[in-house]
Symmetry: C2
Subunit: 418 residues, 2 copies
């Protein structure tokens, strides 16, 4: 097979994570190894930047900056939640790709983003534009199918379980059987993130916090919750509850009021923590519930990111480039866990459409009978993902993150009305 | 002056901080240097543990554990918000002290706690029980008078401004002039904590976040706030707001509904962040506000604690012991900043009653004319307090904190009905 020679474009999409930039570093580092790849472009703000022809020259960034991406949260190229819908938009994307001789396109994102990549890839095939399109998995939600886990997930659960460890010290000091603390975490439709808080429990210390993990997978019952809290408070000085924002009642309705929907029609949630605290305040006399809502802080928590996660995100980016250079296209990189006792992880690829259309649920059999704690199967799965610490440099007392120079690539087309 | 020979008791009170345990380490380490101090006891749960005669033998803890206290959040001895009121309670405290030959009493806490220490000290004097009582300052609120700053404050503002740096990366990626992010932080009556977020701005980058700091010192005006947000959104991709929980309107009423009061009659707050987000959602079409409420997480955030703060907390504990051994009593340790350009800090003492009855306000002249940002005087004050990083050890991917063995001291008296 003759090498496909041309330029590379990489973009980021959807909500940022602590390690999505590490994937970009992986793409850039690997791309430099292949002479068939000429220019290395970054597209700003996902598909928006493609429509607007906003590319930057990633090869001109310093090595220092590319290395610093490995510990920088957010999405250094910018991202978007804009969804390509009109045929005109897709045609524009192809026009831009052709104008800039984009032959390698990598897109880091969740299932919506991989759906977009899939559609772009298929359109290119239809139009006879030879191009290799490879998706790079990304999401703190850990809900992509086919892959063992998603880059971004290990870091968010390392952060949350570290916070639980810190809170345990605080609450152990303050509680007298009368303190309920509710930590609200993300998780729109699955409890992967909330479940991860279970890692805070030390081995053989089943009474360590979190005492109650309220998961979207288990229909929420007010009375059962209050009973659980009362039981914990009899035994412990405090009760620490971790709740996923997507908690639903037995009829499948969110317990907290929906505040709106995003561009993909996903419901934007918030308030599950306040809801649980309200139940406690009203239902258990003399007990005061305190709420912390980590919000976006959790997906930006690079200071307490997982080195395993950051390394795997880098590996996924590099693997995407290798796959493309080897002739693969219309694929998404996935992570495969080794069979041995000792954790190992390698990459493979599956079709983009497979990733685009699935959602991986938290297995019900990993949740204990009590509905509010995780069993050894979950621990065995998640424990390896939080191992190791990245090292964010501090200057003058504060963390310092990568800033791209963003040397703009000349536009070649007329402006486009998005 | 003849040495006062006897036992030492140290207790902790009020809300924990990231570094209050470092003060306990300072007390224990220094006490070992003085032969006039025989036993080194820790009182559990503040004055509650004294009333209940719940003492532990701190000298029997391993050196490793005492060292680990320097990076352990919470309050390892336990704390309380119980307020001694009845004469009977005070008499009981003295009875317990006499029974255990407590001649050195150290109490780490805020102004309420120092008021308690002051009353105990005066009662001992009345009853002719020779004892040295020294307070150790502690509060993330930074509102104690006389002292330049309070142990606990440097760490909480280092943590919050680090979070703002992380959020900046996230929001820079996500915002398209339509993202408002509200970070709610503690601060019951003063804006010291919210103001500290200003440190996240890089030197000579006035447009760095936080773009708006909503302080309790500046009466809140809905319209002016929305104008500020609109102006920032015209200029920046996003607007990051930091709000102190104690935000009040022009009539001095909290903007967020009060949820109750604690044992000292302080109003327990929450909801200022949601309030501001609601204003934005209703007042600025097309803009979505996201809220994170750090809650107790911020005062337990040991992983991102300030080494300067931890070291000064340790120094304050050691200084309390030195002062007591030198014959001082009825005093509280304070921190004094050196005059030179290069930051330095040493300890001194003032009377407990001075600390007990004052509240230090955030100087109005440190707030810019715009009412939502801090000027160079604040930066000069706060910058040195966040310097240096403590190093929390991680094992199996998670932080490990000190656990005291808590070897109980035999009770000598009849139980007491609290």
């Amino acid at each position: 097979m003759a090498d496909l020679v041309g330029n590379l474009l990489v973009g980021q999409s959807g909500g940022p994570t602590a390690v999505i930039n590490s994937s970009i570093a992986g793409v850039v580092s690997e791309a430099l190894n292949h002479s068939c790849i000429e220019e290395i472009y970054g597209g700003l703000n996902g598909v928006l930047g493609i429509l607007n022809e906003e590319f930057i020259d990633l090869a001109s960034e310093s090595q220092q900056t590319i290395r610093a991406l490995r510990h920088t949260p957010g999405a250094a190229l910018g991202t978007c939640r804009f969804k390509l819908k009109k045929q005109q938009d897709f045609d524009r994307v192809l026009e831009v790709f052709k104008a800039h001789n984009i032959r390698y396109f990598f897109y880091a994102g969740g299932n919506d983003s991989q759906d977009t990549a899939d559609k772009i890839s298929k359109l290119a095939q239809q139009q006879g534009w030879e191009m290799r399109v490879i998706g790079i998995p990304k999401t703190i939600d850990n809900d992509l199918v086919a892959t063992d886990h998603c880059p971004g997930y290990g870091s968010v659960i390392k952060y949350i379980s570290s916070v639980v460890r810190e809170l345990a010290c605080d609450h152990q000091a303050m509680g007298q059987g009368d303190l309920v603390s509710v930590l609200e975490v993300m998780g729109r439709s699955a409890g992967w993130i909330a479940a991860g808080a279970a890692l805070a429990k030390r081995r053989d210390h089943p009474h360590d916090p979190p005492h109650i993990i309220a998961l979207p997978e288990v229909p929420f019952d007010n009375e059962k919750f209050l009973e659980d809290v009362r039981r914990v408070l009899k035994r412990e000085k405090y009760c620490l509850v971790v709740v996923g924002e997507g908690l639903v009642d037995k009829d499948g309705n969110y317990v907290a009021t929906a505040a709106g929907t995003d561009a993909f029609g996903h419901v934007q949630l918030g308030g599950a923590g306040e809801f649980l605290a309200g139940l406690v305040d009203q239902g258990i006399p003399g007990v005061k519930a305190r709420v912390a809502k980590l919000g976006i802080v959790q997906r930006a928590a690079a200071i307490v990111a997982s080195k395993t996660d950051s390394d795997e995100a880098f590996m996924a980016g590099a693997a995407a480039v290798k796959a493309a250079v080897n002739g693969e296209t219309d694929k998404c990189v996935i992570l495969i866990r080794g069979d041995s006792e000792q954790y190992s992880c390698e990459t493979a690829t599956v079709s983009l459409s497979e990733i685009a259309n699935g959602v991986k649920k938290l297995p019900r059999e990993w949740i204990n009978e009590d509905g509010v704690s995780m069993n050894f199967q979950f621990h065995r799965y998640a424990q390896p993902l939080i191992q190791g610490e990245t090292h964010v440099p501090f200057e003058s007392g504060l963390p310092v993150f990568a800033k791209l120079d963003k040397v703009a690539v000349d536009k070649l087309l007329q402006p486009y009305e998005v």
